[in-house]
């Protein structure tokens, strides 16, 4: 950027957008981060219990705590919040829904009954340890949960039971898919970008047009197109069948699985690799390559020793862009990924919209954001350092 003398007008021009982004974008992101460690829902529904258990040393439940729970349950019944409380507590420990429902109904009839007389479950010290933990509005359990970890009632950190262990695998799967998609984009994108840069003006314009057309076309249109092509009665399978290459029972499963996710993601992200690489290649002076060739170097050697290193910045920029975009992909896996092609973003949406486990959604989101920021901040520096050495 050519130098312009700093001036007060600069601030006046920039600040409106900066303020807008801080309010409309960064504040929501901060809200999400906060939600992953701050979950006041139970605390708000059980204020007395929270107070009674706040200073509790973990041994011997006192009478005041029983009364607090009893009063909170009665109030929750009166304000129609008992179902929400029961569901929320059940998530912390399976079976609590029934206990809360039964107890609340009993208390509606006979408000003064002792809890332990309604259900022996209330005499279990482990239950009170859980209550003490979940009535605190600040919590690390969503983040632990997002890492497949949990804390036992006695406060020991352990892995989740096997049926509930999935997020670490899902994060790894997401990273693996992102890496694979980036690699395929590089293998397809590099020759294509080279052809664009090397071609004459008309062919170059045509090749550019062919990249930009899908780039500007809606994600949903592209997903639809691939469904039409890849499904079992789709264009590709029907074509192979007509040519006699496969039989009726040999139709290929190309979509609604990981294959579908990867094919469509490559299609969507390829332009993001090609365009930055093309801009680097188009700016290269051809004299180096010609010099090397005129000195008698083999074309492959020229390519490997001269041309390729010159295009590293473009490869790094495109690759980083594709990798980071892949990590957060949602629409494509949701539409064409079936069961096995789902990524971490889909699980975040699931907990936001279906299971309503908003704390866990926020915790998964926080981890994903950390991964993306870490990459966005460190990789360009690594690439730069690598670039300096060559």
């Amino acid at each position: 950027m050519n130098a312009v003398s700093p001036s007060r007008a600069g601030w006046a021009l920039v600040l409106p957008l900066v303020a807008f982004i801080v309010i409309a974008f960064l504040a929501p992101i901060a809200t999400m981060l906060l939600r992953s460690v701050h979950d006041p829902e139970i605390a708000d529904l059980m204020p007395r219990t929270r107070q009674a258990l706040a200073q509790w040393d973990g041994t011997g439940v006192r009478q005041v705590a029983f009364e607090a729970v009893s009063a909170d349950l009665r109030e929750a019944s009166a304000t129609n919040q008992i179902g929400r409380l029961a569901q929320r507590l059940n998530r912390e420990r399976n079976g609590l829904r029934v206990l809360i429902d039964v107890t609340a109904r009993h208390l509606e009839r006979e408000p003064d009954t002792k809890l332990s007389r309604i259900d022996p479950g209330w005499s279990d010290p482990a239950l009170w340890q859980i209550l003490a933990r979940v009535t605190s509005p600040w919590t690390g359990r969503h983040l632990l949960n997002a890492l497949d970890l949990t804390v036992t009632p006695d406060g020991i950190l352990v892995r989740q039971e096997e049926a509930r262990r999935l997020y670490v695998d899902l994060f790894l799967r997401t990273a693996w898919v992102a890496a694979l998609v980036t690699l395929i984009c590089a293998l397809l994108g590099y020759p294509y970008a080279y052809a664009m840069a090397a071609a004459g003006p008309s062919l170059g314009a045509l090749l550019l047009f062919l990249v930009l057309l899908p780039f500007w076309t809606s994600l949903l249109v592209r997903a639809t197109a691939w469904i039409v092509l890849l499904q079992r009665r789709g264009v590709i399978n029907e074509g192979l069948l007509a040519m006699g290459l496969i039989g009726e029972t040999g139709r290929l499963d190309l979509i609604y699985n990981m294959t579908g996710t990867i094919i469509v993601m490559v299609h969507v992200l390829l332009p993001f690799f090609v365009l930055p690489l093309y801009s680097v290649m188009a700016g290269l002076p051809t004299s180096y390559v010609r010099a090397s060739a005129s000195l008698g170097a083999h074309p492959l050697r020229t390519f490997a020793r001269v041309y390729l290193p010159l295009t590293y910045p473009g490869v790094a920029a495109g690759g980083l862009l594709v990798f980071i975009l892949s990590l957060g992909y949602y629409v494509t896996p949701a539409l064409v990924g079936g069961r096995t092609g789902q990524l971490i973003s889909n699980q975040i949406a699931f907990h936001m919209q279906r299971s309503l486990n908003w704390g866990l959604a926020a915790a998964l989101g926080t981890l994903l954001l950390l991964a993306v920021l870490l990459l966005a901040l460190t990789l360009p520096r690594l690439a730069e350092r690598g670039g300096l050495r060559t």
Partner: protein, 272 residues
């Protein structure tokens, strides 16, 4: 050998080009499917014109839901585009007038919506707007789309500015032109192409956006991407293909026009 390698290379590039574009072309004939499924009928495969039908085009033209969705998408984009273009252009012009340190910091803030996965933004803005009663509202969607679109405007206008020679402005002020009039007479015409392509980017960002809309739209705020989403996921019907064909057609026309305009502008500039 050399010629063979050349041939192989161009064949490879041709295949990649086909991979990029053919899927978009396949939906065109299928959108004339007379049946409510996504596959070719025997009559269509025999290229029998009687096997084609405008059924699904009629359906989207007559459907109140598709019409509402189109109106909503256009209305939202009609607010987002000028808002994002104004904020983005101002910021692009202003960034270069700042000292290095705040400039870098602000650039990071402005670029953040481009890096952060949109699902996280959707999650966050839902938490953020729910207590304000702004979920299921146009206001929420417009705010979010503007935040996503404005950074693109900053990038496109900024890249035009890098080739913009500040000495022109100084020359104008030496000749006695007041700053504002210099802006309108010198700066604006020179960065106009950047602003125009930034505005186009902003429009497309909003018009194509599905994730924010999934989280924030209620029945009355359904947009075209949401309509397509439920068309692909919930009730697969070739109406989606008809809509997709129209969108591909629209994109092709817009791109060809901008390319032709850019070419004629370049040749006009060369002529001068």
């Amino acid at each position: 050998m050399n010629r063979l390698a050349r041939f192989g290379f161009y064949l490879l590039c041709g295949l990649i080009a086909a991979f990029l574009v053919l899927p978009l072309l396949v939906i065109v004939p299928l959108s004339f499917n007379p049946e409510p499924y996504f596959s070719f009928t025997p009559a269509m495969l025999q290229l029998d014109p009687a096997g084609l039908s405008l059924r699904w085009y009629r359906e989207i033209a007559e459907s109140a839901q598709w019409r509402l969705a189109l109106r909503n998408s256009l209305s939202i984009a009609a607010v987002v585009t000028p808002l994002a273009t104004l904020l983005g252009t101002m910021a692009a012009l202003g960034l270069r007038r700042l000292p290095t340190r705040p400039r870098k910091m602000f650039a990071v803030i402005i670029a953040s919506p481009l890096v952060v996965p949109v699902i996280l933004f959707a999650t966050g803005i839902y938490f953020f707007l729910a207590p304000l009663g702004l979920t299921q509202s146009f206001t929420g969607i417009i705010l979010a789309h503007t935040a996503l679109a404005a950074p693109y405007v900053v990038v496109t206008v900024g890249s035009t500015l890098t080739t913009f020679d500040e000495r022109l402005l100084r020359a104008a002020s030496i000749l006695g032109s007041p700053p504002l009039s210099a802006f309108f007479k010198v700066t604006l015409p020179l960065v106009a192409p950047g602003i125009a392509s930034g505005a186009l980017f902003a429009f497309v960002t909003s018009f194509d956006e599905a994730v924010i809309a999934l989280f924030l739209a209620g029945y009355d705020q359904r947009t075209i991407p949401l309509q397509m989403w439920s068309g692909v996921r919930d009730q697969l019907s070739p109406a989606v293909l008809a809509a997709a064909t129209l969108m591909v057609l629209l994109v092709t026309i817009v791109m060809l026009t901008t390319m032709l305009i850019a070419r004629s502008a370049r040749s006009a500039g060369a002529g001068r």
